[in-house]
């Protein structure tokens, strides 16, 4: 159940819980249930700083649920979560959450810049209007994801990939230290996927910690440093080399990592190569 990486993580977390260098995210004995049916059981891990971390598991494994529960968006049955050694309410400005793109109505009457500006709302007081610095930060965030020229575009006129980039720009505008992203690669074009990967690497270079719910087993090793294997329970959490192993993947996917899914993944991989020869 536990591997070296995870144990190390836990020890680091305990040692530093009181110090300045507390872990960006500690999850302790977290259990979550929907309609009294448990979907996450006794999850326990401590995230190291400055890593790109993939959350991987089969459909219904509770990957999104884990992120939502950590952010307090759905109630937990038991356990607790610490961000930088503190409660979420005390560290909101250091944490940015990127929901799945499909959870919002893209016909909403607003433009790309305005959506990105929403990332700054957490910094404003009750009646305070966005300041010039906030608008500037929003423009810079759009620039970083290559969407500056679409700033005033109505959001329904953006492609799926462009919408995802706007969501990421919004998270950048929050200027946080820990980012939790729910399936940012779902349904995006090859160019956007490459742009997101580049962005993740830039974020790591500037010391950010990024946790990403990820679907595509083929790319996990290329894109991320650490991996969290999840199937209702935490199967393993640690560095890619020691954790993303056949044995642990079999344990995560059970019988479901069958020939069929492998074939499907391979086909998708091939298609990507065709779309994007690089």
């Amino acid at each position: 159940m536990e591997n070296d990486g995870m144990q190390n993580g836990n020890e680091n977390g305990r040692e530093s819980a009181q110090s300045l260098a507390a872990s960006p995210l500690e999850v302790h004995d977290l259990t979550v249930s929907y309609n009294r049916r448990p979907v996450l059981w006794d999850i326990d891990f401590t995230v190291p700083e400055g890593k790109l971390i993939a959350v991987v598991g089969p459909n219904g494994a509770g990957k999104s649920t884990l992120i939502k529960a950590a952010m307090g968006l759905i109630p937990s049955a038991s356990g607790y979560v610490r961000f930088f050694g503190r409660d979420l309410s005390e560290s909101r400005q250091r944490v940015a959450y990127v929901p799945q793109r499909t959870t919002v109505d893209w016909d909403f009457p607003t433009d790309a810049l305005d959506v990105v500006l929403m990332g700054r709302y957490g910094r404003l007081r009750l009646f305070q209007r966005p300041r010039r610095a906030d608008v500037e930060a929003a423009h810079q965030a759009l620039q970083k994801v290559g969407m500056e020229q679409f700033a005033n575009r109505q959001i329904s006129q953006l492609s799926g990939g462009q919408q995802q980039r706007v969501f990421l720009a919004r998270a950048l505008a929050q200027d946080a230290e820990l980012y939790l992203m729910d399936e940012p690669f779902a349904g995006v074009d090859a160019a956007t996927e490459a742009a997101i990967v580049e962005l993740l690497r830039q974020m790591r270079a500037s010391g950010k910690t990024v946790i990403v719910v990820h679907h595509d087993l083929q790319t996990v090793q290329d894109y991320f440093d650490w991996v969290l294997l999840l199937n209702m329970r935490l199967i393993a959490f640690g560095p890619m080399e020691t954790t993303f192993t056949n044995e642990l993947l079999q344990k995560t996917y059970g019988g479901r990592l069958s020939l069929l899914t492998e074939v499907a993944d391979l086909m998708r991989h091939e298609q990507r190569k065709e779309r994007d020869p690089l």
Partner: protein, 303 residues
Amino acid sequence: MDLNAFWIILTGALAAGACALVGSFLVLRKMAMLGDAISHAVLPGIAIAFFLTGSRAPLPMLIGAGAIGVAASVMIEALHRNGKLQQDASIGITFTWLFAVGVILISLFAGAVDLDQDCVLYGEIAYVPLDVITTGGGISLGPRAVWVVGAVFLLNLLFVILFFRQLKIVSFDSALAASLGISTALWHYALVGMVSLTTVAAFESVGAILVVAMLIAPAATAYLLTDRLKRMLVLSVASGVLSAVGGYYLAALLDGSIAGAMAVVAGGQFALALAISSRRSGAGNPAFLSVPQLISNQHEKNL
């Protein structure tokens, strides 16, 4: 235009404008049916307030109806969450039940107070100029309804201007709002409370049933005509005002119900907007999605 016509149109326009401001957010949050529910559910609140005060004193009525509107939406949520009932079924049960209680209360108290079912259901905007506020010195300040509806219009305007960002972010992306520490429940019930107040203030002019038309139709019209939220709010108020003016003269022409004519004009504007709208290409509409898109959407919606 004689003075009576002026007061009637002004009342209708202020009521429609007040409805349009909060109705816009109902439309954007896909809660149009909640407006329907609240407008019916406040009926017992109106009846009880009438019974307790024996008059149409606006303040107790507004407070009572505001409270019962929020209570109705709490009941809808409770039936949905704890009772495991579909959202639309819980809305259906809550508002028909409360509405029925209101109908009984009104029929019970009809003799005791100046209130009848027709006036509550269909409004009596034609009589608005008759109920005038006069000062101690005998100076007329204009119809009481204008003051009540005008006050609620200003209140809604203030609500929407002061809390524009909160209402927008909670309507567009409630998950992000919650992650930023902006309470989605607080703003949900604040909006529901304002819709309840507005409904009560407007029911005299357009009636409890047609107030739904004013909550939804001008907002839906504006939604079709622009892709910016601020413009949508301005256009929805404009469409509401136009409905009041147009409705008055349509009713005069037909010699029919003024409130009915106002709602018909509001619906006519929506049909016109639908015909000329270029913005809604159907990109986000499931009816326009291809089968592979639907499958990939479904795929993305997993846990």
